[in-house]
């Protein structure tokens, strides 16, 4: 076990960091916001951690924390800026934000090390730290999917206009997910830089958009668990697929295409559906089970009418 752990430590670290990155895209999606700002935040976190560690020799928690705060603030400002956008246009604007940060890194002179980037960001950050932080984040996100905030986020995704006419401040919910997304992305970027001791414009580039989106599409977009499934698969797939050599990318593409077309809710959706069916079969619901699965239109209108007689009579009196 220990031997296995040592020889796979890089992949284990990569899994948790990719997971945080994927979550930075998944959290906005929960609120119906198609934003890639998390990728730009990854760059902010990565460079902030490198600069502070190399120049000021601060502790890793300070180096990463500073990046998280800066990216959260940037997320807030970006949310104000793109408040009127939605859908594809919002996605485009946030990709532009992320690419812009890449350009900034390349042209940042001594501060960012230009195209070659920064080296020698040595720190005491360990794999155990990364796992602990990620688990804490997961617990917080899992909690946020339940309860009042979770319901509000669901409402904003399902029907923003209806949500706002019920008293939910849709823009505030959106600003919040941008802030959380920024913090998550920066945390991933900062930790990755300190583990690898180096960062360059290439490592915070467009490929991260593809990586994160792939994980969410295949894993499932509506819960942290989907992002976790995706992160595990796409971090470990390359080592599993070594035997196909240069065909790896093709296999990738096929997997994503199949998932997007046939499994719109991701592997998590498949698992949940399977679990529901198992439970239903176990309970052996008479008739009711079938009608729950059927479309609402297929229900018997007569029965509904009869059932509604009660409330109205009461409402009138």
């Amino acid at each position: 076990m220990n031997q296995w752990y040592l020889s796979h430590e890089i992949l284990i670290q990569g899994t948790f960091i990719s997971l945080l990155l994927a979550l930075s895209i998944q959290v906005p999606l929960r609120a119906g916001v198609f934003s890639f700002a998390g990728i730009g935040s990854y760059a902010i976190g990565a460079y902030t951690a490198a600069i502070l560690t190399i120049r000021e020799q601060v502790a890793p928690v300070v180096a990463i924390g500073a990046g998280v705060l800066i990216a959260a603030a940037a997320g807030y400002l970006l949310a104000l800026l793109v408040a009127r956008l939605s859908g594809l246009y919002l996605g485009m604007a946030t990709i532009a934000f992320s690419l812009f940060l890449g350009v900034l890194a390349t042209n940042g002179g001594d501060l960012t090390g230009g195209a070659t980037g920064l080296f020698g960001a040595l720190s005491t950050l360990t794999t155990a730290h990364v796992i602990t932080i990620t688990v804490l984040v997961l617990v917080a996100l899992a909690a946020s999917e339940r309860g009042s905030f979770g319901r509000r986020v669901d409402a904003v995704r399902e029907d923003p206009q209806l949500a706002v006419s019920m008293g939910i401040d849709v823009n505030r919910v959106r600003r919040r997910v941008f802030v959380i997304s920024g913090a998550l992305g920066a945390c991933a970027g900062g930790m990755n830089t300190l583990l690898r001791t180096t960062v360059s414009p290439e490592t915070v580039g467009f490929h991260l958009v593809v990586t994160a989106l792939t994980m969410i599409i295949v894993g499932g977009a509506l819960s942290w668990a989907g992002a976790a499934i995706g992160a595990v698969i796409f971090t470990w797939l390359p080592s599993v697929l070594q035997f196909v050599g240069e065909w790896q990318l093709l296999v990738y593409g096929i997997v994503v295409a199949i998932a997007a077309v046939y499994v719109p809710n991701g592997l998590l959706g498949l698992l949940q559906e399977g679990w529901r069916r198992l439970r239903r079969r176990g309970r052996r619901l008479p008739a009711g089970g079938a009608s729950v699965a059927a479309a609402p239109v297929a229900e018997d209108p007569e029965e509904k009418l009869a059932a509604l007689g009660g409330p109205t009579a009461e409402a009138r009196s």
């Binding site: 319901r151 409402a155 006419s165 019920m166 059932a307 409330p311 409402a315």
Partner: protein, 238 residues
């Protein structure tokens, strides 16, 4: 009470509402009648803050709420039930209702939830089921219940009977009357003039963005020429 004065709503190319005035008082139903495109929904949406009026005033219990953000208007005690029986389909019935009480305190919310279940027992029976699986009429009841969860003093209903079977329309309008009888000021938009007039206290008839008749419902019922001229024969044919 709700007072709308000389409201104008302008979209990019057209003026949808031109100087509309209307009011809703506690315990009474003000019916807004008019054909498709008469500006009824735009009036409601502007009053609720979903679109910013170009001119005019919306006052709620003496407080000017014109152009306020929609979620703030809900906090001032007025809620809109938009057309099309919109519910959060994947959420359960109870989750939909609890979301409606988002602006209230937890204790208040629990209290009102019990009242809503009392008013609409069917919602209580289905509280754990997904809202999307309810029938059309049940979804409309859920939309009403959800609006009531914010303990509104003014409620605006945009075509609650649209697309429902005739018997169901009667149940839904019965529920509307019930809300008014509970002391809420109701502003009801209906295309079904015949049904709407049965429960209305006041009537505002609109055509092409303007008010063409405003007065007590009895007067509107007898004012055949107004109805005929602006709502078409269908409104009169029994």
């Amino acid at each position: 009470m709700l007072q709308i004065d000389d409201l104008h709503v302008r979209y990019a190319t057209a003026e949808a509402v031109r100087g509309v005035s209307a009011s809703a008082t506690p315990g009474r139903i003000t019916l807004v009648l008019g054909a498709n495109g008469a500006g009824k929904s735009s009036t409601l949406r502007a009053a609720a803050g979903l679109v910013t009026p170009h001119a005019g005033r919306v006052t709620l219990e003496g407080r000017d709420v014109t152009g306020l953000a929609p979620h703030k208007i809900v906090r001032h005690g007025m809620v809109l039930v938009p057309e099309g029986r919109r519910v959060f389909a994947p959420l359960s019935v109870e989750e939909n209702l609890v979301l409606g009480g988002y602006t209230a305190t937890r204790e208040k919310s629990a209290e009102v939830l019990a009242q809503v279940y009392e008013m609409f027992p069917i919602l209580g029976q289905r509280r754990a089921g997904a809202a999307g699986l309810l029938s059309g009429g049940e979804q409309q009841m859920l939309a009403f219940g959800r609006a009531l969860m914010s303990s509104p003093r003014v409620i605006m209903l945009d075509e609650p009977s649209m697309g429902l079977a005739p018997t169901m329309v009667e149940s839904v309008l019965g529920a509307v009357r019930g809300m008014a009888d509970a002391g809420i000021a109701v502003l009801l938009v209906e295309q079904n003039a015949e049904m709407g007039l049965e429960i209305a206290d006041e009537v505002v008839a609109m055509a092409r963005g303007e008010v063409v008749f405003s007065g007590p419902a009895e007067q509107a019922r007898s004012n055949a020429s107004v109805l005929l001229a602006f709502l078409g024969e269908a409104a009169l044919v029994e």
